[in-house]
Symmetry: C2
Subunit: 393 residues, 2 copies
């Protein structure tokens, strides 16, 4: 399994603190067809604004990303710094500046240490090809405790290709993107008119279906590049090849998204929240997110307390259409409540057993219709508080 | 200062665990003009449904409230239990059942221990007049660490009267009511057409302007009774007396609301969040609530970390109209950021000093219009997680 036509480089620029690689580069030998999804936050970091403008052209050849500083809430200087970074990199690589995507993650409101970046960029360009995708995954980490990289191999008309992605993000994870970066590369060739729709759908089913704390960041970026270096024919909309590619892309993104939840700040549990029987899919997602974001529900998960009433309460205030007398709830396969009331008997003990596991499913059936949604979340632990109380120090 | 025409009683019914008073009664010598505001949660506890139906008549003479069990998600049995409680109490007091309001707070999904309630009710009725308002405030506590009671005295056309209230609630506090009970009594006489509007306005400016964890409960109830025992003339809409009464009511409710925030589960900080310069008041409230409910902002408060970027990020995703380049932020009187960027200089050190205090104000000006809103919240501490992880055990 090898991804063709991409090279990586990582260096230490000492952006936040010395001692770790915090500046990384993805370089495609040829300009790639590209699509990106950015944060919905009205307060967008400078690199997001810069990159969003460029991706409209549908092409990208390089991505430069730093961890440790978000370059957000940095005003006009922030945009100048993002532009300078991309200009220096483009010059070093000998490509058009418009083909450079810029990404940042880290503390908000502090200007980028440009002197250090300027010093580090030549080494970053020179190091092209010296790093692996795992090095890349490690270099973009902030509070993450492990690097996140996923690969899948597919085949289009007899030619095999690879889809590979990295992601970072451990807190501030909420649908519609969060302090979450994910860069996905394929050496398949994708038709420009296909890539955007396909990527947005995959992001919706993965990164937009996870939540850790309900906070949406200023910097979220999810980028897909397709450079065709594997030698596939161009995959076009509606073809069986497009279908297979979409399936692989979904797998890569969903696995990356789940890794982010598993690495949720201080998380001790990985919880799938499934809502069924909703009046609509939108209602189901709304209810699922309310449950997944409830501090009371999440602390009960942490405490391994089968406090199912809090789950019904969250569904009740979610805004989704709810008839309290129709609600049913399962922890994995243990039915905790039906027709709005506690199942009684052994449900309490059995439900508590489920919550003792590191990974379980919570399903609420609203009993109203065919709408359903699944989201993934973590518990809320002492450790989450510690990490976020002391993040900047 | 004494509230006329009301008597209180509290007993131990051992509803959740023995050793504390957990059943309380408010009794007005005569039927009082009354208004109430209940939870907006679609999943409403049985006593809420029962009491909401009755308050439509505009009269109440007694309130029976238990702590330790919410009687929520208890199905048809829950309603039978609430009705039986009110029937037994009405019979004991010799009043019409329709004049009894019923309230519950505590664990969700567990049937009320009716045998214990039946045994305790005669003693509750017999004890009428033996308890103080402070006993009442103590008996309705769940995770509260101190009882909350507030009184004010007013004067209408030379006749003095009292407004007195109790409240409970320490977690699951969120606008539109939360596991929050508040019972307010006055011995002034209020016109029936005045009481409802007046009370809803006061609740909006107080209990609907506080948030601890963003969770809205199944049981929230805020009740106002006015029995006229002080001998005032009936206070009618539009009169100067109505204005003074409204002011006193606001004071009582806002002070009770602030006490709830001060007692926020595990709270170490009391924070006023003020949004100004919004496009509308509604936008301002939305932005204020997003900041007040952000886990990342609240953990930064706990960590005394002047991480102002998180506050801008929360404003950015709140849904309020925002222009990032116009945002300004103060911690008390220290300007942390202006025109979207960090103030620099001594702001960091001075801002951190502010956050070291137990009580401070965070103000964000959106620079767009005249809309403003103030909400009150606490920080998110280790202790919050501990309390809620182990609540039922």
């Amino acid at each position: 399994m090898s991804l063709k036509g991409y090279t990586f480089s990582v260096v230490e620029a000492a952006i936040k603190k010395p001692g770790r690689k915090d500046l990384a580069l993805i370089f495609s030998e040829t300009p790639a067809t590209a699509a990106a999804v950015f944060t919905t936050n009205a307060v967008k970091a400078a690199p997001v604004l810069l990159s969003a403008g460029r991706i409209a052209g549908g092409k990208a050849q390089a991505l430069v990303v730093n961890s440790g500083n978000a370059n957000a809430c940095t005003g006009a200087q922030g945009m100048l710094d993002a532009r300078e970074t991309s200009r220096l990199l483009a010059a070093g690589l000998g490509i058009a500046e418009e083909l450079v995507q810029v990404s940042s993650t880290g503390v908000i409101g502090v200007p980028l240490p440009m002197e250090r970046l300027r010093n580090a960029l030549p080494g970053l360009v020179a190091g092209c090809g010296s790093a692996t995708i795992d090095d890349l995954a490690a270099a973009i980490m902030t509070t993450d405790t492990f690097p996140k990289a996923v690969q899948r191999t597919g085949c289009a008309a007899g030619v095999s290709y690879t889809v590979a992605g990295v992601a970072k993000g451990a807190g501030m994870i909420m649908p519609n993107m969060a302090t979450m970066l994910s860069f996905v590369m394929t050496d398949a060739a994708l038709a420009p008119e296909l890539i955007d729709t396909l990527f947005r759908g995959a992001v919706d089913r993965s990164f937009n279906a996870i939540t850790i704390d309900g906070d949406t960041s200023t910097n979220d970026t999810c980028l897909l590049m397709a450079n065709g270096a594997a030698g596939t024919a161009v995959i076009t909309a509606g073809s069986p090849e497009a279908e297979e590619f979409a399936r692989l892309l979904d797998e890569v993104l969903l696995e990356l998204a789940k890794l982010i939840v598993r690495d949720g700040e201080g998380a001790t549990k990985f919880v799938e929240i499934r809502i069924s029987g909703a009046a609509s899919d939108a209602d189901a997602k709304q209810a699922a997110m309310a449950v997944a974001n409830s501090s009371l529900v999440k602390t009960a998960f942490f405490g391994q307390d089968a406090n199912w009433g809090r789950i019904f309460a969250a569904v009740g205030y979610s805004g989704a259409k709810v008839d309290p007398d129709l609600l049913a709830l399962w922890f994995d396969d243990v039915c905790m409540a039906r027709a709005g009331v506690f199942s009684g008997g052994d449900a309490e003990a059995q439900g508590t057993e489920v919550l003792r596991k590191k990974e379980f499913r919570v399903q609420v059936d609203l009993g109203l219709g065919q709408g359903s949604a699944t989201v993934y979340t973590s518990d809320l632990s002492h450790e989450y508080v510690s990490i976020n109380a002391d993040y900047r120090t």
